[in-house]
């Protein structure tokens, strides 16, 4: 496979790193919110916030890379599939920013600022405001559900290309030696 048909190393690295983090964050987020208040809950919330802010940082780096490096053209396929793929990718990019930003806003509004890995205090985006906090909580949850659905769609499409169509779509994002 030639270099022009595969993503470049940094894009591949960012994709799989973010995939792993998001696949951990989504179930953790849905699980932890139902827990009664306990030291374990506070620990899980802190980890969730730290990893979420890491995803936001990676999203910034990845977008910067994407805007300065042309991705390999998609493999030929039915127009409707290409359109849905383009739309899914655009929405995923949007949510890579929107989900962590809504979480950050929620933390600020609820008066529990984010200290990244317990070391770097992040600025509060808004002042403490309970009503606003609930609003951002709903936004964070709703956007996270949207992310979960899109991730499943993205995953299903990748596996369909790999196992049903048996084309090189998934291989575009897999690491491997340069030809």
């Amino acid at each position: 496979m030639s270099a022009e048909t595969r993503y470049r190393g940094p894009a591949i690295l960012a994709h799989w790193l973010m995939a792993a983090l998001i696949l951990a964050l989504l179930p953790l987020g849905f699980y932890m919110q139902g827990l009664p208040l306990s030291p374990a809950k506070l620990q899980l919330y802190a980890w969730h916030k730290w990893v979420g802010m890491t995803v936001l940082l990676l999203a910034v780096l990845r977008l910067a890379w994407r805007l300065t490096h042309r991705p390999p053209p998609p493999l030929p396929g039915p127009a409707w599939q290409l359109q849905i793929a383009a739309l899914t990718h655009a929405l995923l990019y949007l949510l890579l920013f929107a989900v962590p930003l809504a979480g950050w806003l929620m933390s600020s509004a609820k008066g529990f600022p984010v200290v990244w890995f317990g070391l770097l205090p992040l600025p509060d985006l808004v002042g403490r405001d309970e009503a606003l906090g609930r609003l951002f909580q709903i936004a964070h949850q709703g956007l996270a559900w949207g992310m979960a659905i899109l991730v499943l769609l993205h995953l299903a499409a990748a596996l369909k290309h790999h196992w049903v169509d048996r084309d090189g779509t998934l291989a575009r994002m897999l690491p491997g030696p340069r030809p």
Partner: protein, 192 residues
């Protein structure tokens, strides 16, 4: 934030009298103005500073800047009036592992000694009774006098576990730090 204050009119009256009174050489501040006073604290949760405060407390003091060694102070705090950052946290700290409110509804501090540190700064020692434990604690405070009244700002670093506050699994100080910084701000006018 409305504190039950049956003697508020009397306080206002006394404050008015104090303002009218000719300035004496020695002024003893003894009338605490609850509406202009506050009791706050900060603790760290997973490295994140979380602020809180108590809505209801009763503070008394006698302080003459000319004779600080003779000063005294006491306060009692209605622990149920806590705002620990969220409704969930407020419900949690009422329980047995934290304040155990049904058993120990209030905390009380009584000063034993006041020592000037230079400038407008002082050190006050006293005993704090919290959750059935009585321990000597040391706070530092600053006094700012202006227009016939004085603002006292005291800081008191406490170790919550010395008082058994946040016991059991909450004793893990990597989650909730042992140290709680208490800040008390009192506005007082001279007594009659």
């Amino acid at each position: 934030m409305i504190r039950p204050q049956p003697y508020a009119p009397a306080l206002v009256f006394l404050a008015g009298l104090a303002l009218l009174a000719p300035t004496a050489q020695a002024v003893e501040y003894s009338q605490v103005q609850p509406a202009a006073s506050k009791l706050e604290f900060t603790f760290k949760q997973m490295g994140v500073p979380v602020p809180g405060h108590f809505k209801r407390f009763d503070a008394r003091l006698r302080f003459d800047p000319a004779r600080p060694e003779q000063a005294s102070a006491s306060f009692s705090v209605d622990l149920a009036s806590i705002d620990a950052g969220s409704p969930e946290a407020n419900a949690e700290v009422a329980g047995k592992q934290w304040f155990d409110l049904p058993q120990f509804g209030s905390a009380r501090f009584v000063s034993s000694q006041v020592r000037p540190l230079g400038g407008q700064r002082y050190e006050v020692r006293g005993t704090l009774n919290l959750k059935g434990q009585t321990r000597e604690v040391v706070a530092t405070f600053q006094v700012k006098e202006e227009a016939g009244r004085a603002v006292f700002t005291a800081t008191l670093p406490l170790k919550r576990l010395e008082f058994g506050v946040g016991a059991g699994p909450w004793g893990d100080t990597s989650i909730v730090a042992d140290q709680v910084d208490v800040r008390l701000q009192l506005l007082a006018t001279p007594g009659k």
